[in-house]
């Protein structure tokens, strides 16, 4: 008889480091040393501890859909017996015991209630009964926002715990098993959890992702056990779920504008709820230092902003994206929501180039200090109708901002203060909800905006001054690049609008901007009645 049938349906433990590790040993088939020495286990324990975890509820005999696919695709054909049944650990920030939970199951209430369980629910972790790579689907609560953290790449994950409905807002994570998946597949798997929700496509398991990625672009080595994919193959997997892969080169040595380029792209899509994959090389600063040529891939799931800095580039253009100082990533070898920091530190590459880098949670080989990440390519999975990308919208706003600044240069500095632009992709529903909630416009103006027919996907560029929105420039994200994809402008400040209308009518100035990016915005203001 297998181990599965010997376990009771549930077990309850008080959370501690030793209990957590012991449970992982017992519920997987990993050796104790493989659990204790695993950085991912240490990361997860610390993460759960910071969430103030008090209780672990073990749900034995759990069937996990993603693992079942991987099991059917690989493990079932091994001569050695591997179990298809997993175990799921649930985490709570309140304390309760077996008797109280049993009472809830038997009587449906008192002293524990479904509401209390939901209130204290911190998420779950699936343990696969495998050696070494046993961390399966994991959904954990995010850290509190505290006015700086933002996790837009999460979704509601519904859980049914013996008839008790629970829900956790998170993004699923799992470690690579080096059989069905390496880092590339794991990052794609996490990203698809969100895009399936956003763009309504099927969710592929890791083994399915690896298969579709290598169908048309086979690798010379065997596909399974999988050692990794190329960016080309990752793009192929994105197309397999009917999304379009957009690749952005963010390699710093090629881009003097690196910081603004990468922060702008990350923010514009993340803020709009679109997840991204970032690939990077790791730089090990052990002595002697080494640059790892093979790339690593992570799913970018959130960001943190610094509200104390002036978010301006070296030419004075202010963008909310430049406040971004950290990103949170699902790094399959570090953990969920792992932090990478834009700390300004540079590294010297083998060719002598000194380039920007981000901090990581990867230890150096000598275990002293952490490795640095040198970004390479960002891969963005977009709905096929989203044809206008950030690189097209940004210059429009950048040039329009330059046009506005000419008024400041001409001596009217009080007229148009330094605008801070918030540029991101969004949907018409989000835009209209937000305009309704803002309460900045009323009457016909509000009615005209809310009743206006708009495309489903739009780019929104809001000009702020001192935290107050002045105008919203809306672009049609489904239009063609060489057309006029400006859709409309929503004005919140009548005097600012009047100044913009007036200077747009000054031919000596405006005509010089004709044909440059942003001309459509100037033309729009020229056409509005004063």
């Amino acid at each position: 008889m297998s181990k599965v049938h010997e376990d009771p349906p549930f077990e309850i433990y008080r959370f501690s480091k030793d209990t957590f590790k012991e449970l992982l040993v017992r519920k997987s088939i990993a050796a104790p040393r493989d659990v204790s020495n695993k950085p991912l286990v240490v990361y997860l324990w610390e993460y759960l501890d910071k969430l103030h975890t008090k209780t672990i509820l073990v749900e034995n005999n759990y069937i996990d859909r993603d693992y079942l696919e991987d099991f059917a695709g690989y493990y079932v054909r091994c001569f050695k017996y591997y179990e298809k049944v997993c175990c799921r650990l649930h985490f709570f920030c309140n304390e309760f015991n077996d008797i109280e939970f049993d009472s809830l199951i038997s009587h449906g209430n008192f002293p524990l209630t479904p509401g209390l369980l939901q209130y204290s629910y911190l998420g779950f972790l699936v343990v696969k009964r495998l050696p070494k790579k046993f961390i399966g689907r994991t959904c954990l609560k995010t850290y509190p926002s505290e006015g700086r953290r933002d996790y837009p790449i999460t979704r509601e994950n519904n859980v049914n715990l013996f008839g008790i409905p629970l829900s956790i807002s998170s993004l699923a994570f799992q470690e690579q098993d080096r059989v069905a998946s390496a880092c590339a597949t794991s990052a794609l798997w996490s990203v698809f959890q969100k895009t399936s929700n956003l763009f309504n496509h099927q969710i592929l398991s890791p083994v399915e992702i690896t298969k579709v990625a290598t169908t048309h672009l086979p690798i010379t080595n065997r596909v399974f056990p999988n050692k990794g994919l190329s960016i080309y193959q990752m793009a192929q997997a994105i197309q397999a779920v009917n999304l379009e892969p957009v690749e952005v080169d963010v390699k710093p040595q090629k881009k003097p504008y690196f910081e603004y380029l990468i922060k702008g792209n990350l923010y514009a899509y993340l803020h709009g709820g679109v997840p991204l994959i970032m690939t990077f090389n790791l730089f090990d600063s052990s002595s002697p230092s080494t640059f790892v040529n093979d790339l690593h891939a992570v799913a970018v799931t959130g960001f943190s902003v610094d509200n104390t800095v002036v978010p301006a580039d070296d030419k004075g253009f202010r963008s909310r994206a430049y406040r971004l100082n950290k990103i949170y990533v699902h790094d399959d070898q570090v953990g969920p929501f792992a932090r990478m920091v834009f700390d300004g530190n540079k590294v010297t590459l083998p060719d002598g180039d000194v380039v920007d880098s981000l901090s990581t949670s990867w230890f150096n080989q000598d275990q002293k200090g952490k490795r640095r990440a040198v970004p390479n390519i960002v891969l963005i999975p977009l709905y096929h109708k989203m044809r206008i990308t950030y690189d097209i919208v940004y210059p429009e706003i950048y040039n329009f901002d330059k046009f506005i600044k000419t008024v400041i240069i001409s001596g009217h500095e009080k007229l148009t203060q330094e605008f801070e632009w918030d540029i991101y992709v969004t949907t018409v529903n989000h835009l209209k909800n937000n305009i309704s909630e803002l309460g900045l416009i009323y009457g016909d103006l509000r009615k005209n905006v809310l009743l206006k027919s708009m495309p489903r996907f739009i780019w929104r560029a809001t000009a702020y001054f001192d935290g107050k929105p002045l105008l919203d420039i809306i672009f049609d994200a489904t239009d063609i690049e060489h057309g006029v994809f400006l859709h409309c402008i929503v004005e919140y400040d009548i005097f600012v609008s009047n100044v913009l209308k007036q200077i747009s009518r000054v031919d000596a100035l405006a005509r010089q901007f004709e044909g440059t990016p942003g001309w459509a915005i100037i033309e729009w203001f020229r056409a509005q009645p004063l």
Partner: protein
């Protein structure tokens, strides 16, 4: 609409001032630099989308 950040100004005078400035040598130079900056940034962003095909075949294996 809420109170504006912009003080009440004479829009006709603004128009004349901007027009005069834009036609002046310093205005012309400032506008030329502004447009050049914008076109440089647009080019940089355009380049970021043209990834060398060879790099797309680099292994992502860690």
């Amino acid at each position: 609409m809420k109170k504006s950040i912009v003080p009440v100004v004479d829009l006709d005078k603004l128009s004349t001032d901007v027009s005069t400035w834009a036609a002046s040598p310093e205005g012309q130079e400032a506008i030329r630099i502004a447009i050049k900056d914008s076109l440089d940034v647009a080019e940089l962003f355009r380049e970021s989308r043209t990834v060398d095909q060879k790099r797309l075949h680099e292994p992502v294996t860690l």
